[in-house]
């Protein structure tokens, strides 16, 4: 646990002591104290039908979402040693539900679930993909209210309804949420990337180009950390296609090209009765559901190009679906900064509590001290200020400052712009060089005050790097 997190923990403990006679406030603080020790909570938010559940399944690597027979409940997916589920009810203690894996999907016994409405359902699932985070599929009514969504999560993956739907104007609505106020905890996923270009074979490439365009658009910088095009459908297919399904695809791909292309023109044609191969309509419908028309076109092309084995085809699908980029973005922008983001959520919550039910002026002062003293927040604020142009540095070193502040990843090597396997001694030397360089910038008379203050922050980041290096 980082120093910041322990300071926030101590602050929350003190607040719990102050509010011990107020059950509601104590409960609220208790939840946030627990969350501080738990995994990073990431909510997947998007309009209905955008494919939030599919994307969660793709990220998990198994078809876990949506849970069968769990209508419209907020569902948490967390890593666990065995499949298990806990229902959190509105007016009674949490209840464990029998759960197991059946045909690769979760199965829950909801028969014993009586009493008040379910507030949320936590599914523990033994899978590596969930390590260090909790993915949250929000109930539609919660997802529609950014503030409630904010109370649930440390970070947000904002999923758009289509590859072209990421309009800064619609994204700005997210800005209402305190956790996404400066876009620090948001990653935008352009959903349904496979529908770009009307499902032509270059759809994913087109979608990725669109994501790049958005990433370069200065208006997006304050709204999110990264923009990634992703096709949840293909990603999930890549993670879960069975050998049989790959075999069936192989058979289809081997059909005469001219004949096949005619049947890949539309979804109706693929499932039509005059299909050249002796495959039951049910199988073809299943494949269409799993892959979409674009997925079928892509798979047949890939198989013809030689990716015939199950492993090779699936790897290609995952790679092309944008899932890898999304995972990277999540790691770089969210989980690597988990401590800061969790601390931020807890501090936001405490701030809200102190504002609504002021109890102890000393506590508010302590909160201010923690917020002001945390260099991590100073870095994030400066990053946002650099993005929005509130603070300007000479062009040639803006990129460098961005990197040193952790804007491109928060490990020492990433901050210094060196490969991950760089020798520690070299890291130290480079960090020391950067420190001297920025100290010099910070003392430059020709710079404006705000620029010199920004340089000071970078100096502090550099010295933190050196200090951390010594500790290791």
């Amino acid at each position: 646990m980082s120093e910041l997190l322990s300071r926030v923990g101590a602050l929350l403990a003190r607040a719990t002591e102050v509010y011990r006679h107020d059950p509601r406030a104590a409960g609220w603080l208790g939840r946030h104290t627990a969350a501080l020790a738990g995994p990073l909570r990431i909510a997947v938010v998007g309009p209905p039908g955008a494919g939030a559940s599919t994307l969660i399944s793709a990220l998990v690597g198994e078809a876990v979402a949506p849970l069968p027979d769990c209508p419209m409940w907020t569902t948490w997916y967390v890593a666990g040693s065995t499949p298990s589920a806990t229902a959190h009810l509105a007016d009674s203690p949490p209840r464990r539900l029998p759960a197991e894996r059946r045909v690769g999907r979760p199965w829950l016994d909801l028969s014993g679930l009586t009493g008040g409405p379910v507030e949320k359902l936590t599914l523990e699932w033994p899978v590596r993909g969930l390590r260090g985070m909790a993915l949250i599929d929000l109930a539609p009514d919660v997802a529609a209210d950014p503030r409630r969504a904010a109370a649930e999560a440390d970070a947000v993956i904002h999923l758009t309804a289509g590859p072209t739907a990421a309009d800064p104007r619609t994204l700005r609505a997210l800005g209402d949420s305190p956790i996404a106020a400066t876009g620090l905890s948001t990653v935008v996923a352009l959903g349904r990337a496979d529908e770009a270009g009307g499902g032509r074979i270059d759809a994913l490439t087109v979608a990725k180009q669109l994501a790049r365009q958005h990433r370069r658009d200065p208006r997006m910088w304050t709204l999110c950390q990264d923009v990634v095009a992703v096709s949840g459908l293909l990603g999930l297919a890549g993670r879960t296609l069975s050998e049989d399904e790959v075999a069936a695809l192989g058979a289809i791909a081997l059909a005469p090209r001219a004949e096949l292309d005619v049947h890949l023109l539309s979804a109706d044609r693929f499932t039509a009765a005059d299909f050249p191969l002796q495959q039951p309509v049910r199988l073809r419908r299943l494949l269409l559901d799993r892959l979409g028309l674009f997925g079928l076109r892509l798979c047949t092309t890939l198989i013809r190009q030689g990716f015939t084995s199950h492993a090779a085809l699936c790897a290609q699908l995952v790679a092309r679906s944008g899932l890898v980029e999304l995972r990277d973005a999540i790691t770089r922008s969210l989980t690597d900064r988990a401590d800061v983001l969790r601390a931020r959520t807890a501090l936001h919550a405490l701030h809200a509590l102190l504002r609504n039910e002021p109890a102890d002026p000393g506590l508010a002062a302590e909160l201010d001290r923690v917020v002001a003293g945390a260099h991590e927040f100073t870095e994030l604020r400066l990053l946002a200020a650099l993005h929005t142009g509130q603070v300007e540095l000479p062009d040639e070193i803006t990129e460098e400052a961005h990197r040193l502040l952790g804007g491109a990843g928060s490990t020492t090597a990433e901050r210094l712009g060196l490969p991950d396997d760089t020798d520690p001694a070299e890291l130290r030397a480079v960090a020391a060089g950067q420190l001297r360089r920025w100290q010099w910038f910070a003392a430059d008379d020709e710079w404006t005050n705000s620029s010199r203050r920004a340089a000071d922050v970078v100096v502090r980041s550099c010295s933190t790097l050196l200090a951390a290096d010594v500790r290791w």
Binding site: G162, D167, G198, D217, L265, S266, D268, R285, G292
Partner: protein, 608 residues
Amino acid sequence: MTVPRWLDVLDATIGVCSTHRRPDLAAPLERKRAALAERTVRVVVVGQQNQGKSQLVNALVEAKVCGVGDHVTTPAPVVIGHASTPTAALVQAEPDRGPRRGPSRRRRVGVEDVANRTSVGLNAVGAGELVQAEVGIPRPLLAEGLVLVDTPAADHARVLDVVAEADAVLLVSAATHELSTAELEIVERVHRLCPTIALVLTKIDIAPRWRRVADRNRARLAAAGIAADVFPVSATLRLTAPGARDQALATESGFGDLTAYLWELAARPEALVARSVRAMATAALDQLADPLRRSAVVPVAGTADAIARWHAAQQRLELLRRDAVSWQTTLTDDITDLMADIEFDLRDRTRRILREVDRYFDGADPQQDWPDFADWLDSKLSEAAGTNLDWLMDRFDWIGGRIRRDRLAYEAPAALTDGEGLRAIADRFAPVEATGYPERPTMERFTPSQKLFVGLRGSYGGILMFGLATSLAGWPLINAVSLGAGALFAAKTVHDESGARLRRRQATAKAAAQRHVDDFFLSVSKETKDLVRRWHRSARDQIEHTATHLRDGIVADAASAKQVVDEGAAEQQQRTARISAQLEQLARIQSAVAALAPSPAARHRLPA
């Protein structure tokens, strides 16, 4: 050729818009009139970004006229009409005049350039220089008088202007998702401007569940009360079809039905015109009627104020009535208290004087001291009467002050129960004179002859008693001893008699003083009561006078307010009559409009 009915209705509507000084409503109608005069059927393609609007238009005219692609969006409307040879022109705003409705210039370009010029990057800003692109190509459908208009994404500012000039609207939504709330809002907005709407469900080639989406969309449109046909199409299949020359593919693309629908529209321009004129005119008339209806209920300026004033006056009058009663009650109560207090005070003072009189005459001989006593009693009584009167005056002042304070709220004229009149009354008040100086009572005197007689009578017993006793000793009856005893007895009897007489005189004097004080009390209390009553009467009259004065002021105020209200009501009536006349005129035109065409109803066809 007869002038069509819709033209009359449209002209009437434009006329009424001008009469109501609403050029903003008249202008689109006039544009519509000009557009209708061209005898073409304008079909506008509307939808959100990247639903495939431009691709649909391209597929309909089987040419790459509009720019398509995921990276790009259409910045300005593209109008596609018939021309025997392909022509194209770009209408651009003068750069320094702004993009909207400013003076613009037309520039001829090649048809193939239009696609490039009408596709800009998704996030491009400031691309508004292009006002409109116009393309003419030889197509049988277009030759029939159909004009297709491709539009920017539906949230673009100019789209509704374009829709206002439309005869029919194709709303485009991809089959990969159901109609969103935003899209339904667009449909509803468009429906108000142009009632002939069809929903084109694009991209059915890549949407395996398009049939379900189509059903859901139909249900949603029906729930919103919008009659619209739904055409599931695939522009991709259609654009593939001519190359493959595949009849089945052409059918599957769904364009057969859509084209048939467009032919039908082109063939019945009159019905469409009537329908869209009806919608536009209805919208314009509604906008005219709304402010009229609102203004009909707005009261004439100042009336509200007058009504408020009138109500306030009524309220004040009621308050005043209550207060005046309460003043009088307070006064009466105070006076009753005053009477009791004053009488008690006077009684108390005279009693104390009487007690002093008693004490005085226990010792003094009224025979000698009466003149002194009379002076003293007179001064004492005068003093008592004066103190009592002073107190009375103080009480008057106090009561008067209290009532004055109560009346302060009314800003009543002063000069009511001031002291002057009362002082005059009090000065005339002379209770002591009324009773007079204490009269000396008749008291019996003890004269020397009476004393002699009494002494002789007393001495008789002594002489006899002692004479007889001494006679036993042989002394004569009259001797020195008996004579001495007789003298002693005489002196004693005279002394006793004079004491008894003094007491009798004292009793008489006391009785006389008592009588005098009683007389004094009676007359003074009578005078005081008279004075209080007079004062009460004058105070009562003054209060009455004040109340009347105040009431007169308020009533006058109320009357003036009432007059204003009455005048306002008359004016209001006139205006209501005027407005209802105008509304009636609007209603006449409205009914003419309504008679133009029946409401369109969707035929709910499904392609095979």
